[in-house]
Amino acid sequence: MAKPESELTWRDLEIGSIVTEPGNASQYRTGDWRSQRPSHDFAKCIKCGLCYIFCPEGCLSQTAEGYFEADLFYCKGCGICAQECPTGAIAMQQEEE
C-alpha cells in the first residue's frame, strides 16, 4: 500500500476493494493479536519440526542450527506449537502489555 492505513480514503480503493498487489497481506501485523508468546528451550528441542508443521500462521522458521523460532510480527500466540511439541520445549509466556 502506497499510503499508510490511517490516510487511505474511499477514493483510494480499487473497484470492489480488489487487492491488486499480490502478497500484501504480509504487511499486516497479526502479532498484535497475541496475549501469549511461545518461548523455545533449545536444550529440550529434538528438531523434529512438529511445531513448524502445526503452526497455523506459518510463522515458524528453522535457524541455521536447526532450531525453530517464531516470527513475532505474525505469531498470534495460539499455543498450538507448545501443545504439539513432544518434548515440552515450548512454553507460552504472558505478554507484558
Partner: protein, 391 residues
C-alpha cells in the same frame, strides 16, 4: 426485421439472455422461475447459446458460481424466486460489494409459511438493502427490454454492479403476450462486450473479497454507496439509448394521467397495468385520479418521485409485502421518508394487498382508491390497511 410473436414471458426472457449472448448461467430451478432456466438449459444443450450452464445444488451455490464467473469477466446470468432468493441472500451482498456485474431475474414469489408458490413482493423487499440495482417490470416486452438494459448497465465501467429484474410470479412470468425480440446485430451493438477491468487472470493476480478490518471497512461501504447512487445516471442514459435504438422508452418513475391528478395511486410491477384500467374508468366518471409506477427501485429515484407527486393532494401507496409490526408497506415507508422534508407534499395512505398471488381486479383498485380518499379525509387509526382481508 424483428418479429412480434406470441410468447410466454419466461421463454421470452430466456431468449433475451440468448440475445445478450450470456457466457455463464448458474441457476437452481424454483417455481415460478422454472420456465426461464429450463428454456436456457435447452438453448445451451441444443447448441443455440454458446454458454456454460452450471446446474448447481442450491441457490446459495448458484450465486456463488455467478461470483466466480463474473469475476473472470464472463457475462453472467441467473434467476431465482421466493425461498430461493432467500437462500442466496448472504451471497447477494458479496456480489454487490465486490462490484460484479451479474444479471438476475427475480420472479417474485411470496415467502413461506404457509407455503405459497404465488406472487407478491415479500422476496423483493427482503433483498432491498443488498446493494443491487433493482428494476420492476410490468409486461413481457418490458421484461425482455430490461434484461438487455440490465447487462449494459451492470457492465458499464462506471457502474460494475449486479442488477435484479423483478417480474411478478405467474401474473407476469407465465402469461403469453405479443413480444418483439430485437435483432441479434442490434443487441450486439447495444451491449458491446463485457470488459471487466480487473478480472481473475493468472497473468495479473488479484485478490477479491478480502478481509476488511475496522480501519477500512467504513471506506469500502461509502465507496459502494456513492457508486450505487451514481449508477442512476447510467441507468437513465441506458434507457435513453435504448429508446433511440429500439423505440421503446422507460423512466425511473412513470405516470398515467398523473400530471393533473389530485389523487395518485402508486404501484410497482405488473399490477400497474390493471391499475391503469381502473384509473381510466374513474377518469371517465370525472374523478381526478392518476397513477404513478415506480420502475427503478434501487437506486431510489428521489428527485423523480418528488417531482411526480408534487401537485397531488393525496398519494395512496399499494405494497405487495408487509413490514411486520412496522409502519405499513415497505415501499410506502420509503415514499414517506422521501417526501417528509418537502414543503409541499401529499397526504400519504398505505395499503397492503395482492399477497401470495391474490389478484387485485379493476374493481379492487377502484375500491382501494375510494377507501384511500376516505382515509385521506377522515384519517385512520391504523398505520396501514390490508386490502380484501376477510374479517
Amino acid at each position: 426485421m424483428a418479429q412480434r410473436l406470441g410468447m410466454e414471458v419466461s421463454v421470452a426472457l430466456g431468449e433475451a439472455v440468448k440475445l445478450a449472448d450470456a457466457d455463464v448461467i448458474a441457476a437452481y430451478p424454483i417455481t415460478p422461475q422454472t420456465h426461464i432456466v429450463e428454456h436456457l438449459a435447452e438453448l445451451v444443450a441444443d447448441g443455440e447459446l454458446d454458454a456454460e450452464y452450471i446446474p448447481v445444488e442450491s441457490e446459495h451455490s448458484a450465486m456463488s458460481a455467478c461470483l466466480g464467473a463474473a469475476a473472470s469477466g464472463a457475462r453472467t446470468f441467473t434467476a431465482s424466486a421466493g425461498q430461493g432468493l432467500e437462500l442466496m441472500h448472504e451471497v447477494l451482498y458479496v456480489a454487490s460489494s465486490m462490484r460484479l456485474p451479474i444479471v438476475m431475474a427475480v420472479v417474485n414469489r411470496a415467502l413461506s409459511a404457509p407455503l405459497s408458490v404465488w406472487g407478491d413482493h415479500s422476496d423483493a423487499m427482503a433483498v432491498r438493502d443488498t446493494g443491487w440495482i433493482q428494476l420492476f417490470t410490468e409486461n413481457g416486452q418490458d421484461v425482455v427490454d430490461q434484461v438487455l438494459c440490465a447487462f449494459r448497465i451492470a457492465e458499464d465501467r462506471r457502474v460494475l454492479l449486479p442488477v435484479m429484474i423483478h417480474l411478478d410470479g405467474f401474473h407476469l412470468s407465465h402469461v403469453i403476450e405479443p413480444i418483439t425480440l430485437p435483432e441479434q446485430t442490434q443487441v450486439e451493438q447495444f451491449l458491446g462486450t463485457n470488459q471487466y477491468p480487473l478480472p481473475l487472470h493468472p497473468n495479473k493476480p488479484v485478490a477479491m473479497g478480502d478481509f476488511g478490518p475496522p480501519f477500512i471497512y467504513t471506506e469500502t461501504k461509502w465507496a459502494q454507496e456513492v457508486n450505487l447512487r451514481k449508477s442512476k445516471e447510467v441507468v437513465l442514459e441506458c434507457w435513453q439509448e435504448f429508446g433511440r435504438t429500439f423505440k421503446r422508452h422507460y423512466q425511473p418513475v412513470e405516470g398515467y394521467h398523473s400530471e393533473d391528478a389530485r389523487v395518485l395511486l402508486l404501484t410497482m410491477g405488473s399490477f400497474s397495468e390493471t391499475a391503469m384500467t381502473a384509473i381510466e374508468r374513474m377518469r371517465q366518471n370525472g374523478q381526478e385520479v392518476g397513477l404513478i409506477r415506480l420502475r427503478l427501485w434501487r437506486p431510489f429515484p428521489f428527485s423523480e418521485v418528488r417531482r411526480a407527486v408534487k401537485n397531488a393532494e393525496l398519494l395512496i401507496v399499494l405494497d405487495r409485502a408487509i413490514s411486520f409490526g412496522g409502519p405499513g408497506g415497505p415501499v410506502c415507508s420509503e415514499i414517506r421518508s422521501a417526501l417528509y422534508n418537502q414543503e409541499k407534499r401529499p397526504k400519504i395512505v398505505s395499503f397492503v394487498g395482492g399477497l401470495g398471488g391474490r389478484d387485485i381486479t379493476v374493481d379492487g383498485f377502484e375500491q382501494i382508491i375510494t377507501r384511500g380518499i376516505e382515509i385521506g379525509q377522515k384519517g385512520s387509526e391504523q398505520e396501514f390497511e390490508i386490502f380484501g382481508v376477510r374479517e
